[in-house]
């Protein structure tokens, strides 16, 4: 009975949702003035919202992901969305059934970003850009990338790289075709090409690292990267903190609405799912993001469990030590780990403690999660050992076993049996906790989903895929822990 009720409710919700979409008005626009009284969706902190937020005759809806903004438009939560005029290219517009209503008046000069003490490199880049403008190469570069020529030619141009020299480390913001984007493991885009020109002029190798805009800025500041790119608009605020090269282009915004006349992706549910899977997984080998991310997630999780599990043994021994200072130290450590949000610990280790060491981000993540896991593991060990009555130890001692043998033969097997379920759940929560490593530029499973989302503007399918994979991983991890547990039979 209950189940039938649920199905009915679900059906009603779906029906309402589809009605809402059909109801959305057909609107005609020609400029920003026509927005009065409408709901406008955009990405928070992207510059387009600066002028819009000053208007009080519109309802501004802010989202943190490009795909979510588009979803708001498609669901009818917003009447119009503001986004970059180049990134949502004609292919994507057709795929999602949207069109450009009009283009914004404002232009935003954009350039590559450097640290304040890198004036010499900037001069080199400015000189290169100047030369390219004069010999017409800049125009052809812009034509290729910004006029969507690259969409027809599937072999994206590629400026040759130096094989040696001190690497020029480039922090790239997540996929922003055609400014900077990744296919497989290779980077492309107009800004990427500019960075390659720069590296060649400097006779340096080039090294790309993936960041989001906040962590990219941070890595630039802490010296983990030399250049940052990915459609960074020049604003007075940013100029106080960083140096910008001369702008190579000024981008404009565009206002998008649903295209009711276009060939929007309609059809059966299965057909659209198939299409969605195709664009999210097969196109440009995007499934490789998922497999690479999966491997990264597994690596971090397993290494952290191993390392943290071993550290936890030491920590547990300390909490049960006879020496007071050891107990106090362990208590303090546990208190610290319980109090620090995992993300903060990760960021502190990456941007402060190991900032100058050039340690691989994956290694930093393993260290951070091991430190945290040690505390949880020590707790699990302690709880399991405490659950074994004192009498079991006394029984062993009284028969003539040494303290060590009593522990190994009698206490440990029983404690293991009790502790495994607790340990399993610790491991699974560690696995899920690793989804934040994207903040320190690791392409893990979650970040892989985000990357695909930001390319395809598909809100659900990548998220759903990632969720399913996490589910399977958690289940496998539980099994693995059980299998890896030493046998409790001692005779």
């Amino acid at each position: 009975m209950n189940r039938i009720l649920h199905i009915l409710l679900l059906g009603a919700c779906l029906a309402l949702a589809s009605c809402a979409r059909q109801e959305s008005r057909t609107l005609t626009f020609s400029s920003e003035d026509d927005l009065a009284g409408l709901r406008v969706a955009t990405v928070a902190g992207c510059c387009y919202d600066l002028s819009l937020s000053k208007r009080n005759d519109i309802e501004l809806l802010l989202y943190s992901f490009d795909a979510d903004v588009l979803q708001a438009l498609l669901n009818g939560k917003a009447d119009v969305m503001v986004h970059d005029e180049t990134i949502l290219n004609s292919e994507l517009r057709a795929e999602h059934g949207i069109k450009i209503a009009f283009k914004g008046k404002e232009r935003f000069p954009t350039a590559l970003v450097f640290r304040k003490d890198e004036a010499a490199i900037i001069d080199t880049l400015n000189a290169i850009q100047e030369r390219m403008i004069q010999d017409g190469r800049m125009d052809s570069l812009k034509h290729y990338w910004l006029d969507e020529v690259y969409l027809q030619k599937k072999d994206y141009t590629h400026i040759p790289e130096e094989a040696s020299g001190e690497p020029l480390r480039v922090a790239c913001v997540t996929n922003m075709a055609p400014l900077s984007f990744m296919v497989g493991t290779e980077w492309y885009g107009i800004e990427v090409d500019l960075a390659r020109e720069l590296a060649r002029a400097l006779h340096r190798k080039i090294e790309f690292k993936l960041y989001d805009s906040a962590s990219g800025m941070m890595s630039l500041k802490t010296g983990m990267a030399d250049v940052m790119l990915g459609g960074i608009f020049i604003t007075p605020e940013r100029q106080e903190e960083y140096l910008f090269a001369n702008p190579y282009h000024a981008y404009g915004s565009a206002y998008y609405v649903i295209d009711h006349d276009g060939q929007a992706a309609k059809g059966s549910f299965w057909k659209s799912l198939k299409k969605s899977l195709e664009s999210n997984l097969l196109k440009e080998d995007r499934w490789k993001y998922i497999t690479n991310g999966l491997w990264e997630t597994i690596k971090i999780t397993l290494l952290s469990i191993l390392l943290g599990g071993i550290l936890g043994v030491g920590l547990c021994a300390m909490t049960r030590s006879r020496r007071k200072w050891l107990r106090v130290t362990a208590w303090f450590y546990n208190w610290l780990m319980a109090g620090i949000p995992m993300l903060v610990l990760l960021l502190i280790l990456f941007y402060v403690v190991f900032a100058k060491s050039g340690l691989d981000p994956t290694l930093v993540a393993v260290i951070a999660f091991s430190l945290n896991f040690a505390s949880g593991a020590s707790d699990v060990y302690g709880t399991s050992l405490d659950a074994i009555p004192r009498g079991q130890t006394e029984g062993g001692l009284a028969l003539g076993f040494t303290r060590l043998k009593t522990f190994c033969y009698i206490v440990l097997p029983q404690a293991l049996k009790r502790g495994i379920p607790l340990f399993q759940s610790q491991c699974v929560s560690l696995l899920k906790g690793t989804s934040i490593v994207g903040y320190i530029a690791i392409l893990d499973l979650t970040r892989a989903g985000d990357m695909i989302r930001s390319r395809t503007f598909d809100a659900f399918v990548p998220l759903l895929m990632v969720t399913v994979i996490y589910f399977v991983l958690a289940w496998l991890l539980g099994m693995l822990v059980k299998l890896a547990t030493p046998k409790t039979r001692v005779l």
Binding site: A398, L399, G400, F401, P413, Q414, V490, L491
Partner: protein, 358 residues
């Protein structure tokens, strides 16, 4: 076999105060002896037993086992325990092993016996204690009595020279006490050296070759069962073996709480189910106390009740007095005589005692 000299055990509480559980223990235990250790709760019986196999190491004195000082530095404690088995109040069977594994585990791991040999021996022992049919189940499905018998078999599997029993029947349902005691009786008959902390007085009396009566951290009295149970030398031993309960009033100060005394007598009588003696006791106290106090000697009044014989008595002890004031007080004497069954007047080491049997 075991010689204990000036053994003591102190605990230091978290607040820094010192609790002395064993004060000065001296005894010798010969091979083949069955010794019951009896005494009121909290007098150090279990602590003494646990001190002998160093589960609770003593803080002073010495213990010689087969001539060796086991408290010497570097003495292999686990070797000692292999020869000195222990049976616990709470059984302490290993919960992760079957009954059979519990019994054969230590012979295999410690004595290096082969599994087949150990299994044979274990089955023989399980048959002996009557739980062979439970060999392959886990301890959690056994009754308390069965668990304790398995624990005894596990202990015997190590072929110990002596077995320490720490209240082996205290955690058992009364219906199961018998089965465990009969196993122990059998062991005693076979000549096993045993030290038994127990509250089973009848068992202690029947089975033991010697009884230690422990009181206040000392072995207060050490003798044959006959001596301890029938002719105890010390009053504490008698009080314990006769199960004597008492309430003591020291009436040597001016500010003694007379009203509180009435309440305490009342509570005592209710507690031990002798309410019919309450009025008599209160009347006697009221009538006789002024007479005794007039003499100027410090007065101690003791109300005692033996749970074994049902005897209730009221003692008036005058410290340092030589004669009974009742001789000079005919009215008081008559009153006392009329209310109680018997009046006994006698001089003692402390002073002069008037005992009224109620």
């Amino acid at each position: 076999m075991i010689t204990v000299n000036h053994l003591s055990k102190k605990y230091i509480n978290p607040d820094g105060s010192v609790l002395t559980v064993l004060k000065d223990i001296n005894c010798t235990i010969e091979k083949g002896e069955v010794i019951s250790i009896i005494g009121p709760s909290g007098t150090g019986k279990s602590t003494l037993l646990r001190a002998l196999n160093l589960l609770d190491p003593p803080t002073g004195g010495e213990i010689l086992f087969q001539g060796e000082n086991i408290l010497a530095k570097g003495y292999p404690v686990h070797k000692l325990r292999q020869k000195m088995g222990m049976v616990f109040q709470s059984f302490n069977l290993f919960d992760h092993m079957t009954v059979l594994e519990n019994v054969m585990f230590s012979p295999v791991k410690i004595l290096g016996k082969s599994k087949e040999e150990a299994r044979e021996a274990a089955m023989t022992l399980l048959r002996k204690v009557g739980v062979a049919d439970k060999a392959d189940v886990y301890p959690s499905s056994l009754s308390g009595g069965q668990k304790q018998r398995v624990a005894i078999a596990r202990c015997l599997a190590m072929n110990p020279e002596v077995i320490l029993f720490d209240e082996p029947t205290s955690a058992l349902d009364p219906t199961m006490v018998g089965e465990v005691l009969s196993v122990m009786r059998q062991l005693a008959k076979e000549g096993m050296t045993m030290l038994i902390v127990t509250h089973e007085m009848k068992f202690a009396r029947d089975v033991s070759t010697r009884v230690f009566f422990m009181y206040d951290g000392y072995i207060h009295e050490d003798g044959t069962p006959e001596q301890i149970f029938c002719h105890p030398k010390h009053s504490a031993t008698k009080a314990f073996s006769q199960r004597i309960r008492m309430e003591v009033f020291e009436v040597d100060q001016d500010d003694f709480d007379f009203l509180g005394m009435d309440t305490r007598i009342n509570q005592f009588c209710i507690k031990y189910n002798i309410a019919d003696k309450k009025d008599k006791t209160q009347q006697l106290c009221q009538a006789l106390m002024p007479v005794f106090l007039e003499t100027g000697h410090p007065l101690t009044i003791r109300l005692t009740y033996s749970e074994l014989s049902g005897e209730t008595s009221l003692d008036f002890m005058m410290e340092g007095a030589q004669a009974s004031p009742l001789q000079d007080n005919a009215a008081g004497f008559e009153k006392a005589k009329s209310l109680c069954e018997k009046v006994v007047e006698e001089p003692t080491a402390r002073g002069y005692r008037v005992r009224l049997l109620l």
